[in-house]
């Protein structure tokens, strides 16, 4: 699609585009290019000499059992966060889509946590579940659970998943509600006249019509679990205990912080870039086509 009538000027369009272009080139393309370049290089400990070593950094990285474990862990986190927050959000959205008294208030009270930053969400949950003074931890101990996420890796993982999923409920709720409201009421009425009970109506009519929203949200939630959980992890567990909560992004951060292997850290970044490209491509495909029936 193109405009028929436009302005003509030799310099003005370039002047208008320049600020954005400069920032994009300096802070996006240059660093990304550096990451790609470094991922093919081997640098000695003092940074004095570099050798071009093709894919050796990648080969070393992928043959490390520890890196493989991090990949698996990240996907488990993403799955757990997406499933729990999506299902809760869908339940709340279906309820808030009914013509109830005070429904506008319910909606407001459910969407505000969108504005809570991931590190703050982490702080809130770490306080509630702190083994020595947390209110929820006290309850757990009274129930006989040996709760100590500072030592138990699985419990620490649960902590991160809980806080991350909690923060994401409102986002998913909002998009589910929008999706539900775009389904014409007549479809429900037709199904009701055919004698379908509410539960059956939900699974045979509403749910299939929601698939575009669901696909979209699954991708968004995976991206969220991969990248935005950084703040949650950093405030709650800092990747520990014994790396039980270290995701791919957190590993890049920690490995670089220790100033260790530049090549390996760059290779990790490039692998992440590949992942984002795939996820974004999937997202745009679904947005383009709008899976409808």
């Amino acid at each position: 699609m193109q405009k028929q009538s436009v302005f003509t000027s030799r310099w003005l369009p370039f002047a208008l585009i320049a600020p954005q272009l400069v920032i994009v080139l300096v802070f996006f393309y240059w660093p990304a290019g550096q990451a790609v370049r470094q991922s093919f290089l081997l640098q000695d400990a003092f940074g004095l000499s570099t050798t071009f070593i093709w894919f050796e950094n990648y080969r070393d990285l992928l043959s490390e059992p520890e890196y493989f474990a991090t990949i698996v862990r990240t996907f488990v986190f993403a799955f757990a966060i997406a499933m729990s927050s999506l299902s809760l959000a869908l339940l709340f959205a279906v309820m808030a889509d009914k013509p109830l008294r005070g429904v506008a208030l319910y909606r407001t009270l459910l969407i505000w946590p969108y504005a809570v930053a991931p590190p703050v969400a982490g702080v809130l949950w770490v306080f509630m579940l702190n083994p020595s003074l947390g209110v929820l931890a006290r309850g757990l101990r009274e129930m006989g659970v040996d709760w100590n996420p500072l030592l138990d890796g699985n419990q620490a993982a649960l902590l991160v998943i809980l806080a991350s999923a909690w923060k994401q409920i409102s986002y998913n709720f909002l998009f589910f509600l929008a999706g539900l409201q775009s389904i014409p009421k007549s479809v429900h009425e037709a199904a009701a006249i055919d004698g379908a009970r509410p539960m059956r109506r939900f699974w045979t009519v509403t749910f299939p019509l929601l698939t575009p929203t669901i696909f979209f949200l699954i991708v968004v939630n995976i991206v969220y679990a991969f990248f935005d959980t950084f703040g949650v992890i950093d405030t709650m567990t800092r990747g520990g205990p014994a790396k039980a909560t270290e995701t791919l992004v957190y590993k890049v951060y920690v490995d670089g912080l220790l100033g260790g292997n530049l090549g390996s850290s760059a290779a990790q970044s490039v692998i992440l870039m590949g992942l984002v490209i795939v996820l974004t491509a999937i997202q745009f495909r679904f947005v383009e086509r709008k899976v409808t029936y």
Partner: protein, 282 residues
């Protein structure tokens, strides 16, 4: 509709209240903790009702800070966060609207190349290029500065796309008409396009302000001085690994203060917020 809806409605009310409780409980607890005595909390004796230390805790948090870890008062952090969020939101809107203007209303060589260059940055979030970006910022002397906090985050593919889409729907006749009135590219932009884009800009501003306020990884990297850190970074440094030293009422008051501006924006400007969110994410 058709069936008896009494029970269903009752169930819906109950489920929604449970949902609100789940969502609000951690925040309620944070508020309660921020009004209680630290010794009580550290002993695990915290009450579930607000205590009497509200004014004292918030005064200390905003103007004094914790005694042990970061001595910086949270008032300063709030100020830094505010500057950062405002510069990111306004900066993104400003540079995106003029790039979209150039792409839609002008013909120039490499027009679509430029568009794609901006578009592809969607796939390069800061998390995948952490250290090289840090190095560039360090080389440009941007560490511990407001421009360092904001500049690298100011490019926006989504905002540019959004304005481009909107400009495409502006009828050609408007441009013809203002041309006949003798308006050049600057006048047309200022008198016609900007007023038309007002709602879009407002919706975008709401989303981008929250985005900027909630940044974490970048400010963590780029600030080393305590008086330059944002509230999101400052709150992490207040939590000390040994629980006894953490001043929980102050940490929780800081959490509440960190949430207050963006949550207020969502609640007070709910219509704009929802519109902005749906438009930027679709």
């Amino acid at each position: 509709m058709v069936e008896n809806e009494g029970i269903q409605r009752y169930v819906a009310h109950v489920i929604l209240w449970v949902g609100i409780a789940v969502v609000a409980f951690p925040v309620y607890l944070a508020f309660v903790a921020s009004t209680q005595d630290n010794a009580l909390i550290a002993n695990g004796q915290m009450s579930l009702l607000p205590g009497g230390h509200f004014l004292e805790t918030y005064y200390r948090t905003i103007f004094v800070g914790t005694s042990g870890t970061t001595r910086e008062p949270v008032g300063m952090m709030l100020f830094n966060s505010f500057i950062m969020a405002m510069s990111i939101a306004l900066g993104k809107i400003a540079i995106s609207i003029i790039s979209a203007y150039a792409i839609v209303f002008f013909r120039f060589p490499f027009r679509m190349t430029v568009f794609w260059i901006i578009f592809i940055t969607l796939m390069l979030p800061v998390e995948v290029r952490i250290y090289p970006t840090y190095k560039i910022a360090a080389d440009l002397n941007l560490l511990d500065s407001y421009s360092g906090l904001a500049l690298p985050l100011i490019a926006s593919a989504t905002a540019t796309l959004l304005f481009r889409q909107f400009f495409m729907t502006v009828p050609d006749e408007l441009l013809e008409a203002s041309r006949i009135d003798g308006a050049g590219p600057f006048r047309f932009f200022k008198d016609t396009l900007l007023p038309l884009s007002r709602t879009n800009m407002a919706a975008l501003f709401v989303i981008l302000f929250i985005y900027g306020w909630n940044q974490y990884l970048w400010p963590l990297l780029i600030t080393t001085r305590d008086d330059m850190q944002t509230i999101q970074v400052g709150i992490r440094k207040m939590i000390v690994t040994s629980d006894a030293l953490t001043e929980w009422p102050i940490v929780m008051a800081t959490a509440i203060l960190a949430m207050l501006p963006p949550v207020a924006v969502v609640i007070l400007m709910q219509k704009l917020f929802v519109r902005g969110l749906v438009e930027t994410e679709k």
